[in-house]
Amino acid sequence: MAQLLPALAYLAPALTILAVLALRRYPGERALVAALERHRDRRGRVRAPRGAARKHTPRALVARGGRLIGCALAVRPPPLLGLALS
């Protein structure tokens, strides 16, 4: 048994952490999760392309009224509708 005591000295850091986890405690968890999600959000904003705002602008997808007649008569659809249909 005496020979195992030095081993325990080396294993003390692991045993310490294990003891905390065995009591279902995760110290610093909230801060780490918040930091992780902040980092994810920051990466998402940085990576968003320039045209993203434009893409989210609502636009008419279905031609109605005069535009409907115009589309039927035109050789090619109006630019905006053409984008919406593409």
Partner: protein, 484 residues
């Protein structure tokens, strides 16, 4: 007992966090109460350290905790789950032939030196080449340079030569059997345990004749396996050494295949490892046999082993068989302890989320142990490699020990002043810490890829932190307890 008493009295009044703090403090105080000499043993010599060696375990633990915090906070998306390679350079396919010839020539030299050389292990080429160059230098270099062994593997080279010759003669033959999924990596597991038993336990392990005979037997077994299941299938899964070297080679940022050198993200080739049968066992055995190698030279096993041996002697066995059986049990115990460390982490992760069963989790995270295996091998065998490995210089000129001097290096000798014991201790500590930080990074990356939420990912990694700190501490204790 003092701390248990404190815990009982406090339970009614103190919250759980306080109890954990008391328990941790108790462990800290009790560990500081043992005055340990600042010792670290390599193959020979003692390191002179500025602080007791056990404090290095605490320092390593702090490094791992800081790494864990940084990974959790800043590594926000998986980066290592997909392998992406870029070709650096290529060469003509015929280059494989001379590489294979070199491997075959070296193998022939091993057999020749074994049967015709002197019986003195230190003067014969075989023990140094097999136990230092082949068993230590090849896997370590594979971890850095990639899987170069495949080109030099003598049995693979002969098998490929036979296939090429058969194709030229118009004989095309497919492997009669498909490699069964249930067999997986188990042949490699058994092979590695067998080699470790030979190296660490068998009494005549450095007899050149026995080494040569076993080498021939292994060669024949490999040829049979490749003939039955196919060269590439068997080389990766059935060849103990090919599988072991190939596994460590996944650590590297380089790979050699298809007649080219490829570059990839460091550690990224590990993500696909672990799903096969026996994969977890393979990594645990690699760490376990190295653990036993260290423990067998330490005080604990040297105190316990005679009792186990005498028990076997009492059953009627002779001294040598009893000694070998006792050590065999010790090796299995070391593997079991390593497996226990890992399963503790797996069960802890399972307590965070019940979506996966324990076996699936164990396979999913098996690849995180590969850097630990590499670190253990490097730390444990570094001194052997840099000191006794120099002997290959003069043995290459005089492989049979009969006084030849083929390359003019027969007069060389080992320079022990090349690096001191203190330097070796620091290399060992650095290797262990670096390997475990890599293991943490791999585990964190896998958690991000498989967890449903950030909470689940972060919480599961607390348990992997325990595993990594535990393995680091175990490795440092083993290194410090090796007797000169």
């Amino acid at each position: 007992m003092l701390f248990k008493f404190t815990l009982r009295r406090a339970r009614g009044r103190l919250p759980a966090a306080r109890r954990a703090t008391l328990l941790s403090a108790g462990l800290l105080v009790s560990s500081a109460a043992w005055p340990l000499a600042a010792e670290a043993h390599g193959v020979s010599g003692r390191a002179s350290l500025p602080v007791p060696a056990w404090l290095f375990a605490w320092a390593a633990a702090i490094v791992l905790v800081v790494s864990f915090v940084l990974l959790s906070a800043m590594w926000s998306r998986p980066r290592l789950q997909q392998l992406s390679e870029r070709r650096v350079c290529s060469w003509p396919e015929w280059i494989a032939a001379p590489a294979g010839l070199i491997g075959l020539a070296l193998f022939a030299l091993v057999v020749y030196a074994g049967y015709d050389g002197v019986a003195t292990p230190s003067a014969n080429f075989d023990p140094t080449f097999i136990f230092i160059v082949f068993w230590v230098a090849v896997p370590l270099s594979s971890g850095v340079l990639g899987n170069w062994f495949g080109a030099f593997s003598p049995w693979r080279a002969l098998a490929r030569a036979v296939r090429w010759g058969g194709a030229r003669a118009g004989l095309r033959r497919r492997a009669p059997l498909s490699y069964p999924g249930w067999l997986g990596r188990w042949p490699a597991v058994v092979g590695l345990i067998g080699f470790a038993w030979l190296e660490l336990i068998y009494h005549d392990h450095d007899d050149p004749v026995i080494l040569a005979s076993l080498s021939l037997a292994y060669f024949a077994l490999m040829l049979v396996g490749m003939a039955l299941f196919g060269i590439e299938q068997w080389s990766e899964r059935g060849d103990a050494f090919g599988g072991y070297f190939g596994l460590l080679a996944r650590l590297s940022a380089f790979d050699v295949h298809g007649g080219a050198l490829w570059r990839r993200r460091l550690l990224s080739a590990l993500s696909s490892f672990g799903g096969e049968s026996g994969a977890v066992a393979l990594v645990l055995v690699i760490i376990g046999i190295t653990t036993f190698d260290g423990a067998s030279n330490g005080v604990v096993w040297n105190t316990l082993q005679p009792h186990v041996q005498s028990w076997f002697t009492g059953l009627g066995l002779g001294d040598t068989p009893a000694d070998e059986l006792a050590d065999s049990l010790g090796m299995l115990l070391a593997i079991a302890i390593v497996a226990g460390f890992y399963w503790l982490g797996v069960l802890g992760m399972r307590s965070v989320s019940r979506r996966y069963d324990a076996r699936a989790l164990a396979r999913s995270y098996a690849h995180t142990l590969v850097p630990i295996g590499f670190a253990y091998v490097l730390a444990h065998y570094f001194s052997l490699l840099v000191w006794q490995g120099q002997a290959i210089g003069y043995l290459a000129s005089n492989p049979l020990g009969h006084g030849s001097d083929y390359f003019g290096t027969a007069h060389w000798h080992v320079h022990y002043g090349f690096i001191g014991s203190t330097g070796i201790w620091y290399v060992q500590v650095l290797a262990l810490v670096a390997g475990h930080v890599c293991g943490l990074a791999l585990a964190h990356d896998r958690a991000l890829a498989t967890s449903r939420s950030s909470e689940e990912a972060v919480r599961s990694q607390y348990w992997m932190l325990v595993v990594m700190v535990g393995f680091t501490s175990l490795g440092l204790w083993l290194l410090s307890s090796v007797n000169t």
